[in-house]
Amino acid sequence: MRAACATLLVLATVGCAPVPSGAGGGPPARVVSLAPSLTEIVWALGAGERLVGVCAQCDYPPAVAALPRVGGYLAPSVEAVIGVRPDLVVVVPSPGNREAVRALERVGVRVLVVHDRTLDDLRASVRALAGALGLTAAGERLVADVDHGLAAVHARVAGLPARRVLLVVGHSPLVVAGAGTLQDELLTIAGGTNVAADAGQAWPQVAPELVVARAPEVIVDAAMGTEAGGHDLFAGLTTVPAVRDGRVVALRGDALFRAGPRVVEAAEALVRAIHPEAGG
């Protein structure tokens, strides 16, 4: 039913605004990005001026604020996307946008689907986007920049013993970063060991008693959009080294949550939280 509606809407829109075909020679000149991480990659590749639409959550770099919004990251609007007449749409797969992607492909819009969960995903998506935009060399340069940046961050903590770290992403319920996530990778690069790596899930919900048992030396509190009050959650856990030694560190900003060029910034912020003695 939803698919049928989407198709009808699409057909109606196509009637008055023919969609240019990306196949007709030359790299795409009108690009829509449906994920914050991909918007950042397109911009870092130097193709920011080709963006003609972004998702509602796309907020970096600040210049994208001026671009038309074509719906949410999880639920893009097929009509709005077609309305800006793109010749390439880049998207991260999710259950919420699968129908929209199908509807776009059905009317002949070129859709590039890439993943954004890990550092390997980041390298692959930079190369795929660069290839599609005809900027292969810039793509290789960007991958090398990110790799060099991360290596430089790692070099700063190379001689230091790895600290046991818990990375908190939600307070109520208490949700932390597990193994297999971008955040787990960045935490390791920044000289930490994830104490929740064995929880068996990417984003496990855990009991506070697990925090006591795992006794992290540092708690990085990246529960987004919240203020310092989150520390109350851990204040009573006095045997936890991080609490005892005052190493419950709030980390603001969303660089840590996007497999984009700013992962280097995120790794640097993690080093400041985990190994403040490393300077920088």
Binding site: P204, Q205, A207, P208, E209, L210, G229, D232, T239
Partner: protein, 339 residues
């Protein structure tokens, strides 16, 4: 009919049942305080230098307050469910049906989006206010010429619930990812606190609400004869209905404001106990409170440990375990009563 059944309830049977359930609750609290995703030794926690051991922090600061909160929330939802089923003369009535919970969730989420920290007391306070506000709205909207009917309360309640649920989805659609995360708590429910003060506060509301309900137990029994029948038997129908509605809402509001919408407790436990103990509200109300407390304490212990070290939402356990068990009991009863 109701009179006759009620007469079977002797003071002795009431006392014996309540004492037995109370003992079961105390044992459950003690036992589940020793169960969790990590091992903690009670001996080490209470031994010399106890308070500085991780065992003490785990058992006394994180696990016991949570177990106690589970007991109070489970008891509140279950007693409110029993009262609402009698009040509305509807076996499907349960605490989250009348919009009180959704009202709490909407207010709690608005507080979150206005910038309140998820762990600050502001959020449950807002949720509590939201629950009471919704309750007043439902009652006033269902009233005409100074009177209400069970049907009107049920219909207005269900509609308010739908409106509030839509508001939750609306907030979810326009909020940022971080704020939308908070929706999870309200929809799935969770028990987590390290504050004995919070548990005590909720317990005060719970016990006040329960006492208020028990005081109207005989009127609730007579509601089974219908409004007119109850009136002929000397019940101030409108006054009793208002009192029970307010008391049940108080219980639900206090529970939901600290735990979100934990489903099935308020539906399954009262029915289960009614199958076992009979329908007399003088016994069923306190028994439902204690039984609901025992049920949720164990369900939460399972939620803590089943996937260890990760947790399951407790509502998943209450529905997955409680649902089939309830159907089993119901079928046994049907096999016995139907020819």
């Amino acid at each position: 009919m109701t009179r006759m059944r009620a007469s079977y309830l002797t003071r002795r049977r009431l006392l014996a049942t309540v004492v037995a359930l109370l003992a079961a609750l105390l044992v459950s609290i003690a036992a589940t305080s020793l169960v969790g995703p990590v091992h903690a030794s009670l001996r080490r926690a209470l031994g010399p230098g106890g308070p500085s051991t991780p065992d003490y922090v785990i058992i006394v600061r994180t696990r016991l307050p949570r177990v106690l909160l589970g007991a109070v929330v489970g008891g509140s939802l279950s007693a409110a469910g029993a009262a609402l089923q009698a009040l509305l003369q509807n076996p499907l009535a349960e605490p989250h049906l009348l919009g009180v919970s959704s009202g709490a969730a909407v207010a709690g989420m608005v507080a979150l989006i206005a910038g309140a920290d998820p762990v600050s007391p502001l959020v449950p306070a807002a949720a509590f206010a939201g629950a009471l506000g919704t309750m007043a709205l439902v009652y006033l909207a269902a009233r005409a010429h100074g009177r209400t009917t069970p049907h009107a309360i049920l219909l207005v309640g269900v509609v308010c619930n739908a409106i509030a649920a839509a508001a939750i989805m609306l907030v979810n659609a326009i909020a940022s990812y971080a704020q939308a995360r908070g929706v999870l708590f309200w929809i799935m429910g969770a028990l987590s606190t390290q504050s004995y003060a919070l548990v005590a506060l909720v317990a005060v509301y719970a016990l006040a609400g329960l006492g208020w309900l028990v005081a109207h137990a005989q009127s609730l029994n007579l509601f089974a004869a219908g409004d007119e029948g109850a009136q002929q038997l000397g019940v101030d129908v409108e006054g009793a209905r208002r009192s029970v509605f307010v008391a049940a809402s108080l219980l639900v509001a206090a529970a939901v404001s600290v735990s979100g919408m934990i489903g099935f407790v308020g539906l399954i436990v009262p029915h289960l106990l009614r199958l076992v103990l009979g329908p007399d509200q003088r016994l069923l109300l306190p028994a439902s409170f204690l039984g609901g407390a025992v049920f949720l304490v164990w369900a939460d212990a399972a939620a803590r440990t089943a996937l260890g070290p990760a947790e399951l939402p407790v509502g998943v356990v209450t529905a997955l375990v409680g649902g089939p068990f309830f159907v089993f009991l119901l079928r046994r009863r049907l096999a016995r009563t139907l020819p």
